[in-house]
């Protein structure tokens, strides 16, 4: 074999293990559940192989599923907006701070490294009947009976915001940090107020980071089932909880396949739209 041919083959040898892993453990399984969603789980628990539309009919027409899909999207949207409102000023503060930016950013990213389940659970310590807030309010004398603050949609959103905020801050920071501050100075010297130069120069230039952070918050938020299980009440199930129910509790795997594909299509469409207009590069900047 010639040297050139060997040289050309080398990268493929290096790539082969990773590509086969992703193909065998992700792509083929995804194609498999598309097929699987047309099978039927019979009363005996065996799968009826074939082309049945029953699972899809149930998933697409049952009001129960539709309502939960919409409330999942609503919860994810609120979470994303709250993350943006909390995260943007914080990221701006870090990016424009004269102190040690890296340290400030690392400090805010620190909770990101702390176990998701611990962080979710910790809100019970704060908002629970004998949690920090109730204890504080009762000792000050504002209330005499502990308030029931836990296990509702608000606490689910609270938990999600705490989980996802670092993603937003990081992405906005990366974007803000890349803006040449001379642009703002130029706007100011041409007579713009600080507020005007922020609105007309800095904010538009940081929108890609905001969009990347928003996409991550929305997609990760809409795909969660642990937060509603820990911080939500019985009526706060999100769409991923339905998938978990179907697969783990009811063992109705064909229906579970259809439901997971529904979630994949809805969230995948968002990723596609994002990719179409902004490209994946911005997202990778924030992750790398």
């Amino acid at each position: 074999m010639s040297v050139e041919a060997r040289e050309a083959r080398q990268p493929w040898i290096l790539l082969a293990p990773a590509i086969s892993a992703v193909t065998l453990l992700l792509l083929v399984p995804l194609i498999f559940i598309v097929v699987y969603s047309f099978w039927l789980r019979t009363a005996t628990g065996a799968d009826q192989v074939g082309f049945y539309l029953d699972n899809w009919r149930e998933a697409l027409t049952d009001r129960f599923y539709r309502d939960i899909l919409f409330s999942t999207l609503r919860i994810a949207a609120i979470t994303t907006i709250v993350c943006a409102l909390m995260g943007y000023p914080a990221a701006y503060f870090i990016a424009r701070s004269r102190g040690n930016k890296v340290l400030l950013l690392l400090l805010l990213m620190l909770p990101f490294w702390i176990s998701y389940i611990i962080r979710t659970m910790s809100w019970i310590n704060i908002l629970g009947v004998s949690g920090a807030l109730n204890t504080l309010l009762m000792s000050v004398g504002i209330i005499t009976e502990p308030l029931n603050m836990l296990y509702n949609e608000t606490t689910v959103i609270l938990g999600l915001v705490h989980f996802l905020l670092p993603f937003m801050v990081l992405n906005v920071f990366v974007s803000l940090d890349g803006i040449d501050t001379n642009l703002e100075d130029a706007a100011n010297s041409l007579g713009a107020t600080k507020w005007q130069s922020f609105i007309q120069v800095t904010l538009p230039l940081s929108l890609p980071g905001l969009a990347a952070g928003g996409l991550l918050c929305f997609v990760l938020g809409a795909g969660t089932y642990i937060t509603p299980l820990v911080l939500g009440g019985p009526r706060d199930a999100m769409f991923a909880n339905l998938v978990f129910e179907a697969i783990i509790t009811q063992l109705n795997w064909p229906l579970g396949s259809a439901l997971s594909l529904m979630l994949l299509v809805v969230l995948g469409a968002l990723v596609m739209i994002y990719n179409r207009y902004l490209g994946m590069a911005q997202l990778m900047k924030g992750l790398g």
Binding site: L14, V22, L26, P29, N125, K194, V243
Partner: protein, 263 residues
């Protein structure tokens, strides 16, 4: 406009508080002497850490999580480093598509990935098992390793390798004596990332784990079904120390290595 900046600073301070408050409360309560995992604090005590140490279920979960995390890190880093080398060092036709393919596991919602992998491997005859759990963790951590390693690899200069080759080193010798030592910080960072993500994962793990096997997060989740015992807070404190301490130590080691190798 000074007050505007003050407002932003105050807001940011509140955001920092919001991020740290729950963590602080967990650590605080884990030293609570009271027998309930809640306020008011009745005194300072290490008893919950002792109970944790004596709790067989939790210790077993710890061992499972560590073994799983180490194996995941080993496999994921190996695959990820090889792939990153190919993508950074060679002109690969369709490199963009390959990159997208390799990071696809984080673009797909984890629940969907979990379901697809579980059902497909089950169809092939591999039922819920440690192996399934390992496959799941590998595929889920691989994109993170690739992103981290690739970002660091770009900064390693190629001419050092070319110098070694021109002085008569074979490609294999060059790799082990020049490239690998230079890459070590990137490799360690990737491995640490994979370990931490695997150690922390619950979304996929609940789908893949066989009955009776618990990792630390699923064990905590199972214990939450009752009420929050101070043991969980103690476990939380241990996890916080581990997940925050390990990357910090790792970063320090990486920096040392980087300084030695002069990159």
């Amino acid at each position: 406009m000074r007050w505007g900046w003050h407002l932003i600073r105050l807001w940011s301070l509140l955001v920092y508080g919001f991020m740290f408050l729950p963590v602080a409360v967990v650590v605080l309560l884990s030293f609570n002497a009271s027998q309930f995992g809640s306020f008011p604090m009745t005194g300072f005590s290490f008893r919950w850490f002792v109970e944790l140490w004596n709790n067989d279920a939790i210790m077993r979960a710890f061992r499972t999580s560590i073994v799983l995390g180490l194996m995941t890190a080993l496999i994921s880093t190996t695959l990820g480093v090889l792939a990153s080398l190919a993508l950074v060092r060679y002109k690969v036709p369709g490199a963009n598509m390959i990159s997208t393919l390799l990071i696809a596991p984080i673009l797909v919602p984890e629940v969907v990935l979990a379901v697809a992998l579980l059902l497909f491997l089950n169809f092939l005859g591999l039922h819920k098992s440690f192996a399934l759990l390992l496959f799941g963790h590998v595929i889920f951590t691989l994109p993170f390793v690739i992103l981290v390693v690739q970002a660091r690899l770009v900064s390693i200069r190629r001419d050092v390798e070319e110098a070694a080759m021109s002085l008569g080193a074979s490609p294999v010798q060059t790799f082990f004596q020049i490239t690998l030592p230079l890459m070590m910080p990137a490799v360690l960072a990737g491995a640490l990332f994979a370990f931490t993500i695997s150690f922390d994962d619950i979304t996929g793990t609940l789908f893949w784990k066989p009955g009776g096997v618990e990792t630390v997060p699923t064990q905590i989740f199972a214990m939450l079904r009752n009420s929050i015992s101070p043991e969980i807070n103690a476990l939380g404190t241990v996890m916080i120390v581990m997940t925050v301490g390990l990357p910090l130590i790792g970063a320090a080691i990486a920096r040392q290595l980087a300084r030695k190798s002069g990159t």
